[in-house]
């Protein structure tokens, strides 16, 4: 039988993730593509717990824990060190959305502007999940978190990190989803062979934060793509935009929203508004692709 994804498992068995954690799968697939010659910097995020307590480690590649806002610069320092030592490896910064969209953003922008030779990965679960689900700037409009409670859900839109990072004109940027592992692995394989700053955004549903049954993780990740909420795309040098999965007949956003406790409070007009936003964003995206 021919397998569509690499058979070798680089991450170990047993981890400290929650049941149905999307972020565990993201690392598992990414490492299948990157291979063992990889060094990861990890800021404060769910993965700093998932990896297991000292002296254990789940990943079987070098893992360097660093402060919340420093995954990108620490990775660039490791790259510089490897260069002077004459060593080659994939240097990966692996961070959640809080570290990426918010506290670490200035440093990521700096690393991107200098086009440092690292792969920056954000596994996006749309809130500060490691501290118990507080809103981040990746949290979607109207979602409930512990800091955007039911009587005051998030008032702002999710930050468009893809466009912002693309505007840094880095050699490669891609979005991926754990529901589409072949696509994810393909993109990481492509990123691996590119020199310079690469930015990968992986959509990772979170059962505890989003309040859904752990059995629905993949279904929700797939629905996010099928509803056009999370488009799968690639951008080269900020100019060449391409969808890697076109969604010709999108499912209504309601199908995605209704499965999650964080959107349970939504009224019909809220859903309409979200649908409108998603349609608008898709149009904006098509404009960029046509260019």
């Amino acid at each position: 039988m021919k397998l569509s994804i690499p058979e070798e498992e680089i991450i170990g068995l047993g981890n400290f993730g929650c049941q149905g954690c999307g972020a565990v799968l993201a690392m598992r697939y990414a490492l299948k593509a990157l291979g063992r010659n990889t060094i990861i910097t990890l800021p404060a995020c769910c993965w700093s717990v998932i990896d297991g307590p000292f002296p254990h480690s789940l990943v079987n590649v070098s893992l360097f824990h660093t402060a919340f806002e420093t995954a990108a610069p620490a990775a660039s320092g490791i790259r510089a060190g490897l260069e002077v030592k004459g060593k080659k490896a994939n240097v990966v910064a692996w961070a959640g959305d809080g570290a990426t969209y918010d506290i670490g953003f200035g440093a990521i922008s700096g690393v991107a502007e200098r086009n440092e030779d690292i792969i920056y990965v954000c596994y996006d679960n749309e809130a500060y999940m490691n501290t118990g689900n507080q809103r981040s700037s990746a949290t979607p409009f109207k979602a409930v978190t512990t800091t955007t409670p039911i009587n005051s859900p998030k008032e702002n839109h999710k930050k468009d990190i893809v466009s912002i990072m693309a505007d840094h004109q880095i050699p490669y940027l891609a979005t991926a989803s754990i529901a589409y592992p072949e696509d994810l692995i393909e993109k990481f394989k492509k990123a691996k062979d590119i020199k310079g700053m690469r930015f990968m955004l992986i959509f990772c549903p979170c059962p505890t934060g989003w309040k859904y049954s752990p059995s629905l993780t993949i279904k929700l990740a797939r629905l996010a793509v099928q509803t056009r909420i999370f488009p799968l795309l690639e951008v080269e040098f900020g100019k060449k935009w391409a969808l890697t999965k076109d969604i010709l007949r999108p499912k209504p956003v309601e199908e995605y929203l209704k499965l999650q406790g964080r959107f349970k409070h939504l009224k019909e007009e809220d859903i309409k508004e979200i649908q409108h936003l998603v349609d608008e964003n898709w149009e904006r995206l098509l404009e960029k692709i046509k260019r």
Binding site: F54, V61, S62, A80
Partner: protein, 384 residues
């Protein structure tokens, strides 16, 4: 070779001679010349190092921690607000046991804005696990960089070379630049024991339960204690090769002194002249210059102070709500000793206010009039 160098460039030459391999830095006044000269040295190939021109001091330190973990020798320089921005990563550097060497040009904190010198920036980092050396002239700045790498790499802790803004950073003095060959002999390449190596994967710095964390901290303290001896040893060895000896503290006319002035950095340098003036007037006074502040040479200072009647500690810093920081530390060090002097804490020269030898003579005379310290802080030169 002798060259006329400003303190900032003395730092750069120290880094070049130490063969730093990765430098990451962000510009801040009055540190800028350090970075500029190093950029030139890297661009011309005179110094074979990777220079990461980061977007903040916080990132500079993060990058160096990563680079140091691969086994590279690393350097950065900063001042004041920049050092404060790094604060989180200073803890990280020490916790990760990375022997990063940094130059800090002592500059006062804002607000109000000030680019001039005092020691509150570096002393605010007292408890981060960084070693701190306070230089008194540009020669010592250069020499201390080389020694700092040797000590830091032996005890696996980062080190900060501290120099006064403008008083040293922008003041040119003749500086002897040691031969590269001799420096290479004195300072062999850095070999990191536990490192990031793609061929041998390890996880560093992961979540550590109360069953293990405590021991990590214990080991940092033990490394600091070991460093006390290392600074003496390395300072002696440096003296043998280069003819300039260094230690944890330096004394001047202290052997027969009844009263002692204690200070650090350039104030201590100025105090030497004050001692001479006072000696001419028959005062039996001497000087202790505290060169290494972390690890703190409390035993050594207590021993020198044991035969004195009075000691006046001159601080160019303040711990608000308490007193001068060197004063606190020295007072704490002698508390349990049987033979100890009365100790007076003077604060002066904040925000770069000039402190002359005449000022120090006056401070001394004031203190000699007092039986006991009038308060925890004796202010000198406040104009209200």
């Amino acid at each position: 070779m002798r060259k006329v160098l400003m303190g900032n460039h003395a730092l750069s030459y120290g880094v070049k001679l130490s063969r730093a391999e990765v430098i990451a830095a962000y510009p801040i006044t009055p540190q800028t010349e350090v970075v500029e000269l190093l950029s030139e040295m890297c661009a011309s190939g005179e110094l074979k190092a990777k220079f990461i021109k980061v977007e903040s001091e916080h990132s500079a330190m993060a990058a160096l921690i990563g680079a140091s973990f691969t086994g590279a020798r690393t350097f950065t320089a900063t001042s004041s607000q920049g050092l404060a921005l790094m604060h989180e990563m200073l803890h990280w550097a020490a916790g990760a046991r990375t022997p990063i060497v940094m130059g800090n040009i002592n500059r006062a904190f804002g607000p109000p804005w000030s680019i001039w010198t005092d020691q509150n920036d570096s002393l605010s980092q007292r408890d981060t696990g960084w070693m701190q050396v306070y230089a008194q002239n540009n020669q010592e700045v250069l020499d201390s960089v080389i020694q700092a790498y040797k000590v830091a790499e032996t005890v696996e802790l980062p080190a900060m070379i501290v120099l006064a803004a403008f008083v040293l950073s922008h003041t040119s003095e003749p500086v002897e630049i040691p031969d590269q060959e001799k420096v290479d002999e004195f300072l062999p390449p850095y070999k990191r024991k536990y490192k990031i190596d793609p061929e041998e994967p390890h996880a560093f710095g992961g979540l550590t339960t109360p069953d293990n964390y405590f021991e990590f901290r214990y080991k940092i303290q033990k490394a600091m204690e070991k460093a006390l001896n290392e600074w003496e040893k390395v300072g002696e060895e440096f003296g043998e090769i280069f003819g300039r000896r260094y230690g944890l503290v330096e004394t001047y006319k202290a052997e027969d002194a009844k009263n002692l002035i204690v200070s650090s950095g350039t104030i201590a340098s100025t105090a030497r002249r004050a001692v001479d003036i006072l000696r001419e007037k028959g005062e039996k006074v001497g000087l202790i210059r505290v060169r290494v502040f972390r690890p703190f040479p409390g035993e050594k200072i207590s021993e020198i102070l044991s035969s004195a009647n009075k000691a006046v500690v001159i601080d160019r810093n303040i711990s608000f709500g308490a007193s001068g920081i060197f004063y606190q530390e020295i007072k704490a060090a002698i508390y349990n000793k049987i033979k100890k002097p009365k100790i007076f804490g003077v604060i002066t020269g904040l925000g770069g206010r000039d402190v002359t030898s005449k000022d120090i003579v006056e401070i001394y005379k004031e203190v000699m009039k007092m039986e006991e310290p009038s308060s925890e802080i004796i202010w000198q030169g406040v104009n209200l």
